[in-house]
Amino acid sequence: MNVEITFTVNGQTLSARVHPGTSLLDLLRDQGFTGTKQGCGVGECGACTVLVNQLPVDSCLFLAVWAQGKAVRTIEGEALGNVLSPVQEAYLDAGAVQCGFCTPGLIMNSTAFVEKHQGQTVSREDIRRGHAGNLCRCTGYTTIVDAVERCLKK
């Protein structure tokens, strides 16, 4: 019943034979992309967020077979060598990281949010709503919203 799939992760081609019940999250982690975390496993927390064709999705509720032919982005692709992405840099500057468990998922969602809203006027409420699918138990969210706001002002 296994299915052959090919897609890109952070620009590199990845081919695998997977059982159709494999989540994209499990496949990514098995392939060494362990930056993506599993929290709830049922779409509630956003820790597993990756971008599929630029859209943030919960990879725990997304079948690996659905990635066929698509472009997946994970946290591993965001920094170039030692240079952080603008969103990562802003998280650092704003102090938006504490324990860091939620951070890879949040950064992926923020990245898609910032890329989508660049040049638009966005309220703090819009940023909050845009991050409603990510839980963070440490930061209190204010610093996360600050970080996203900074990126959009740049």
Binding site: M1, V3, H19, P20, G21, T22, S23, D26, G41, V42, G43, E44, G46, T49, L55, P56, V57, D58, L61, F62, L63, V65, W66, N109, F113, R129, G130, H131, A132, G133, N134
Partner: protein, 292 residues
């Protein structure tokens, strides 16, 4: 790993119907945001999948020559919310979709899955009920059309044949004149929360009076419902506070809220009355009217 026991990828709607007909225990999977959660909980009846995820045929949103808005069942909530056609011709549907979960779920969950799931909490259903939406289903005998009203037959149950695929949600052209609609959701949080009570209203006004009111609720009865008594209490009546009061009073006849861990029945009834008023007032205001 999800306990998928049989998996077949459909190449088209026709292919999906054939695959479903071949195996009476199989079900379609679109966004999987309901099915995969059920599978994780160990429900074996979701283990034989016919995959229609991302079928281009199911995703298009178009306007028919007669003004009917045809929303592909496979359109995600995000696609529905962002579609210029939906925003122009059925803004209340975009509003309803925006209440669902958070961005990640809205990027994957589909409107067809929201309807076929049969859940009484489905946020896209009340707005579609007040727009008198119809469904198009493809089955072994061909295509059929059926009103959304009546498609939900019990908690978690819809009148979909096992081998049928929902292809389109059809929203008739809005009536000419002062028409508008509103969709509201009461939940503990404004995001990532299942609806405690959902409500939608649409109105057509004529000067100082209401030509008709359409009112629908989710989670107010075993299935999503329209409210014929409350609608009759407003239709043909003047735009006054008495009319609003009459709707709030009569709506009790149309609903049967129950107690659950989320909220007791009497609290739900209170919210139902309150949302009837708010949805009605918002729709009236959007239609350019005011309640005296």
């Amino acid at each position: 790993m999800f306990a998928v026991e049989r998996y077949r990828r459909a190449e088209s709607v026709a292919d999906a119907v054939r695959l479903l007909a071949e195996d009476p225990f199989s079900i379609p999977i679109a966004g999987g945001t309901d099915i995969l959660v059920k599978l994780r909980e160990g429900h074996r009846q979701y283990a034989n999948l016919v995959d229609v995820h991302g079928l281009a045929e199911l995703e298009s949103i178009i306007l028919d020559t007669d003004g009917t808005l045809c929303v592909g069942a496979g359109a995600t909530f995000t696609q529905v919310m962002e579609s210029p056609l939906v925003r122009e011709h059925a803004p209340v549907l975009a509003e309803g979709a925006s209440w669902v979960a958070g961005p990640q779920i809205r990027n994957v969950g589909t409107i067809g899955g929201n309807i076929c799931n049969g859940s009484v909490c489905a946020d896209s259903v009340p707005p579609l009920l007040v727009l008198d939406a119809e469904l198009e289903l493809a089955g072994p005998e061909g295509l059929r059309r059926t009103p959304l009203r009546g498609f939900h037959t019990g908690p978690g149950i819809v009148a979909r044949g096992q081998a049928e695929v929902l292809t389109k949600v059809l929203v008739p052209a809005p009536p000419r004149g002062a028409f508008a609609a509103a969709s509201l959701k009461y939940a503990m949080r404004r995001a990532m929360d299942i609806t405690t009570i959902g409500c939608a209203a649409s109105v057509l006004l004529d000067g100082e009076s209401i030509v008709w009111l359409k009112l629908a609720f989710s989670v107010a009865a075993p299935t999503p419902v329209r409210c014929p008594s409350a609608e009759a209490a407003a239709s043909g009546k003047p735009l006054t506070a008495q009319t609003v009061e009459a709707v709030k009073k009569t709506v009790e006849v149309d609903v049967a809220p129950r107690t659950s861990w989320r909220a007791p029945a009497d609290f739900r009834m209170h919210i139902i009355r309150e949302l009837s008023e708010r949805a009605m007032r918002t729709a009236v205001q959007r239609a350019g009217g005011g309640i005296r």
